[in-house]
Symmetry: C2
Subunit: 165 residues, 2 copies
């Protein structure tokens, strides 16, 4: 399918992020299982629930713009999650592994921040105002999830990992 | 090599980002060649020059922390750049392609923002103050590059792509 205009780009990007979110719902439980610090486990569990809601919200967006919800394999998220899987196979002290899990999760969050930022801008320009509102809701959730991970890293995990011998 | 503490994580992440930056220096020229809008071509060319400097700066960081500069294949950047390469193969109007190039480039920028954010926090906590300063310089460049792309998208490219039939 050729990309004729911004509407086509918007559809293409929606398919990409639907794939990304679905891949993430399958990977987050592995991070939850591997994390040690209670605050981190809770944050990841909450983000898993949020991600499942975001998939449902994306399906609403597809409906609003009258486009069949299909996903297109997101190779970027695949790469991000392969790297995350490698982290979980590292031989590491639990606190040290927590620091690596946060680093990996924040890369995933930033991927989503970039993607939803683009989708919001495109939706607004295309006059898809209701869709833009939903996409912006997800964008704010991704930013909040990223900030929460920063706080857990700075206030708890990094310090413990640093003193570890 | 087991990850015993945050210093080991720091070394591991440095190897990852060195690979990421080197991969990017090979991909950015393809984006430059494919971009149409003059402002976008200039921004990408400037970021290529900046990325080459960032590789040199990373090598300085390795030296400062007395660690041999080695890279470890960054699978996340590989995935991001595979997706970017797919974008360049799309059949698309040049302005529409510009919108897709910006979207892809901003995902790359955000990957780097997350990575350098983590590296800065770890370097500071580990007392690698000079290294932290260099890493923060790169972090600020990545944020500025991302913002410049947002401006080009909002003020120029998206609007042209939207009116395209």
């Amino acid at each position: 399918m050729p990309l004729r205009n911004l509407e086509d780009c918007f559809h293409d990007e929606l398919k990409d992020v639907l794939s990304a979110e679905k891949q993430l719902t399958r990977s987050l439980p592995k991070l939850v299982a591997a994390a040690e610090a209670e605050a981190l486990v809770t944050a990841l569990e909450e983000h898993l629930a949020e991600t499942e809601q975001q998939v449902a919200r994306l399906e609403q967006v597809f409906e609003l713009v009258d486009f069949a919800p299909r996903s297109k394999k997101c190779k970027a998220m695949q790469g991000l999650l392969e790297e995350t899987a490698d982290v979980l196979e590292e031989e590491a002290d639990p606190t040290v592994l927590d620091a690596m899990i946060i680093a990996a999760a924040q890369k995933v969050e930033h991927y989503e921040i970039a993607t939803y930022g683009t989708l919001c801008a495109w939706a607004r320009l295309l006059g898809h105002n209701e869709a833009a509102g939903l996409l912006d809701q997800t964008l704010q959730e991704e930013k909040a999830a990223d900030e929460k991970l920063t706080v857990i890293a700075l206030e708890l995990v990094n310090r413990e990992a640093a003193v570890n011998v």
